[in-house]
């Protein structure tokens, strides 16, 4: 955010943003977002999380510019070197530059996380809101299905799915998405049930709105903020599972610089050339820590139970 100067423009803007009697819906929305941002900004750990996630995004976008070497270029003469000015994080057993591989690996991590979220969250949202709003048999059937998926441990179900689909990054994403939606359905259903009985929904219904319209334009928007929090918090878990699949050789296939797979290959040269397995692990740790911190911070701002409404 821009620095806080005491020039009249910014104070004028601040006053406009913080106005307790906004003149338009737009002003109210922007004002609320600003108040949320103020609360978020005062949470140092959450800001650290945001910083880490932004860094990940920047690394992913500018990977070819940032990485000093081709991530797959093998220089066997330079294999298994320790940290140096040429190779910041050393080289692996095929003489590839670990730093460049980490940088390019950020693309894969982001790719997995974003795709899983894009697939799983809408499925969960659709199942949960439909079950919650319609109730009755629809609810029973949909929630029984959700419970069955919840009865599987995530990683084991993902493993079985990958076994059936065949290893690979796309299949890993599908497998993780299939195991990730049930909690979202639960959350969306719980929220929907509380919203369903509120007066404004009755008012909308009296005005003749159909079920799909009510669900889509009145219930779904109100479920999204708690869902966003949950998805952000889950992203750390998604990264860990994806890395686990990669470690087992079932996720991204070589020579892709996926961090879990890098740990797996580093394991073979472990006691002596410890950094080959250590560096990608630190990368996974930092990124999932970032998502955890960001999720915690978002929860504090967006979760109405803990306050933070403008």
């Amino acid at each position: 955010m821009s620095s806080e100067t005491q020039s009249p423009e910014t104070t004028g803007l601040r006053a406009w943003l913080l106005s307790s009697s906004p003149a338009s819906r737009g002003q109210a929305r922007v004002g609320r977002a600003y108040v949320g941002w103020l609360a978020f900004r005062s949470n140092h750990l959450a800001m650290l999380g945001l910083g880490i996630v932004l860094l990940l995004i920047i690394l992913a976008i500018f990977a070819p510019v940032i990485a000093p070497y081709d991530p797959n270029a093998q220089v066997l003469a330079d294999r298994l070197q320790f940290f140096s000015a040429q190779h910041w994080f050393g080289t692996d057993e095929l003489g590839r530059d670990i730093f460049s591989r980490i940088v390019h690996g950020s693309r894969l991590t982001l790719y997995i996380v974003v795709l899983v979220a894009i697939i799983a969250a809408p499925i969960g949202l659709a199942v949960g809101t439909t079950a919650g709003y319609l109730g009755g048999w629809t609810d029973t059937v949909l929630m029984r299905m959700t419970d069955i998926f919840l009865a599987f441990p995530k990683l084991v179900l993902a493993l079985a799915l990958v076994a059936a689909l065949g290893p690979g990054i796309e299949n890993a994403i599908i497998a993780i998405a299939v195991t990730s939606w049930p909690p979202y359905a639960r959350i969306a259903r719980a929220e929907t049930i509380t919203i369903r009985n509120s007066d404004f929904i009755s008012a909308v219904r009296l005005q003749g709105a159909g079920r799909m319209r009510i669900i889509w334009s009145h219930i779904v928007p109100l479920c999204t903020s708690s869902l966003i929090v949950r998805v952000t918090l889950d992203m750390a878990g998604i990264i860990l599972i994806a890395a686990g699949l990669g470690f087992l050789g079932l996720g991204a296939q070589p020579p892709l610089p996926e961090w879990g797979a890098m740990i797996s290959s580093g394991r073979k040269v472990l006691p002596t050339y410890w950094w080959v397995a250590t560096v990608p692990g630190v990368a996974i740790f930092i990124v999932s820590l970032g998502f955890n911190l960001l999720g915690d911070g978002l929860r504090d701002v967006l979760d109405p139970k803990t306050g933070g409404q403008g």
Binding site: M143, R144, M145, D147, I148, F149, L150, A151, F152, P153, K154, L155, V156, L157, L159, A160, L161, V162, A163, A164, L165, A236, G237, L240, A243, G244, F247, L248, G249, L250, G260, I263, R267, L270, P271, W274, A277, T278, G281, I284, F285, S288, L289, N292, L293
Partner: protein
């Protein structure tokens, strides 16, 4: 997670039409719920095994098998039948304990699982004990000192637990405590010289060796167990301490806590007897969930520590495209999950007088 066995009495729903006495109705409801969930579980493994692969026959015989072999296997597998019949046969087989044969070991899958499961159970149980014995007091301490340094430290411990890949922590643990400091033995359950020296009565080495009076083996097994169970237990500790903290904060703000203080009860008793007594009620579910999750975490831990358990078996089968073994192991893990959840529901009723 409650498996849909709602905490509130579902009177009037489901079997409300039948006027049965309440305990019977609750039991019946529970049985039907568990049976339905198990059936769903089988359905999912069935789908994964028969429908998802493009051609399950090719997955078994390989793509260079002659035409007549493919056809024979197709009929042997019952793949010429309609799907619902295939599913019925599958359920019938599973109920009789027939999970098929493992291609890799040439044993019935159930036999294999019986052999490897105790190792996983041993690991997950010791890890959970570690997580509970340390995590609960830590959570209590954090809640009592809310906002002060013990709370901050425990928060960081929890955050790390949510952010570190378990297999990597295992590798780092081996690197430091085995390869560098030589404080613990390396991977595996026992040193090679002790292999096959005790009869696998329960399959849990600590119990078997103690029963046989083989204390050398007992200590060797225990020393092998330390590092993997501490590393695995760390994740359950992170989860349990975090949940204990939030439950504890909730209870400490209740009025009955003030009552206890008004009576002149000592502060340690207010915290560890009055407040914690109420925290156990929701905590049982959390501990059960974390135990079930450790069974899952053990998949990766077992690989790192060459621990011959269910996770190791599952992964080996997976890498060798041994679908029967994979699905059998997946199903067993799911069934254990259901069982643990059921157990936690029952324990919950035992601990909370209001739920009886």
């Amino acid at each position: 997670m409650t498996l849909g066995v709602d905490r509130e009495d579902r009177a009037g729903k489901g079997f409300g039409g039948l006027s049965l006495p309440r305990p019977l109705r609750v039991t019946l409801n529970l049985v039907v719920t568990v049976a339905l969930t198990f059936l769903g579980l089988l359905f999912v493994t069935f789908i994964i095994g028969r429908v998802v692969p493009i051609d399950p026959v090719l997955a078994i015989v390989g793509d260079r098998a002659p035409e007549h072999v493919v056809e024979r296997v197709r009929i042997e597998l019952g793949l010429d039948l309609p799907l619902y019949e295939q599913f019925a046969i599958y359920v019938w087989d599973v109920l009789q304990g027939d999970l098929g044969e493992s291609v890799l070991t040439a044993n019935p899958v159930l036999e294999d699982i019986k052999r490897v499961f105790p190792a996983t159970l041993e690991l997950a149980t010791v890890a959970t004990l570690f997580g509970v014995l340390l995590g609960v007091p830590m959570g209590v301490l954090a809640a009592v000192n809310q906002g002060r340094w013990p709370d901050q430290v425990i928060r960081v411990v929890g955050l790390l637990g949510y952010s570190i890949p378990v297999f990597w922590l295992g590798l780092m643990g081996l690197l430091l405590f085995y390869a560098t400091l030589d404080l613990v033995p390396g991977p595996g359950r026992l040193n090679f010289i002790y292999d096959d020296m005790v009869d696998p009565v329960t399959g849990v080495l600590l119990i078997d060796s103690a029963m046989a009076g083989e204390w050398d083996i007992f200590w060797n097994a225990a020393s092998h167990l330390v590092l993997p169970s501490v590393i695995l237990g760390y994740f359950s500790l992170a989860y349990i301490s975090r949940m204990t903290r939030s439950f504890m904060l909730e209870q400490l703000s209740q009025e009955y806590i003030t009552t206890a203080r008004v009576k002149g009860v000592k502060e340690w008793r207010v915290i560890w007897v009055h407040a914690l007594g109420n925290v156990w009620v929701p905590l049982v579910t959390v501990i059960a969930l974390s135990y079930a999750n450790l069974l899952e975490g053990s998949v990766l831990t077992e690989i790192v520590f060459a621990w011959p358990g269910l996770g190791f078996y599952l992964t080996q089968s997976l890498l060798n495209a041994d679908m029967n073994a994979v699905l059998g192991a997946t199903m067993v893990v799911g069934a254990v999950f259901i069982g643990i959840n059921l157990l936690s529901d029952l324990l919950y009723k035992l601990l909370d007088p209001r739920a009886r």
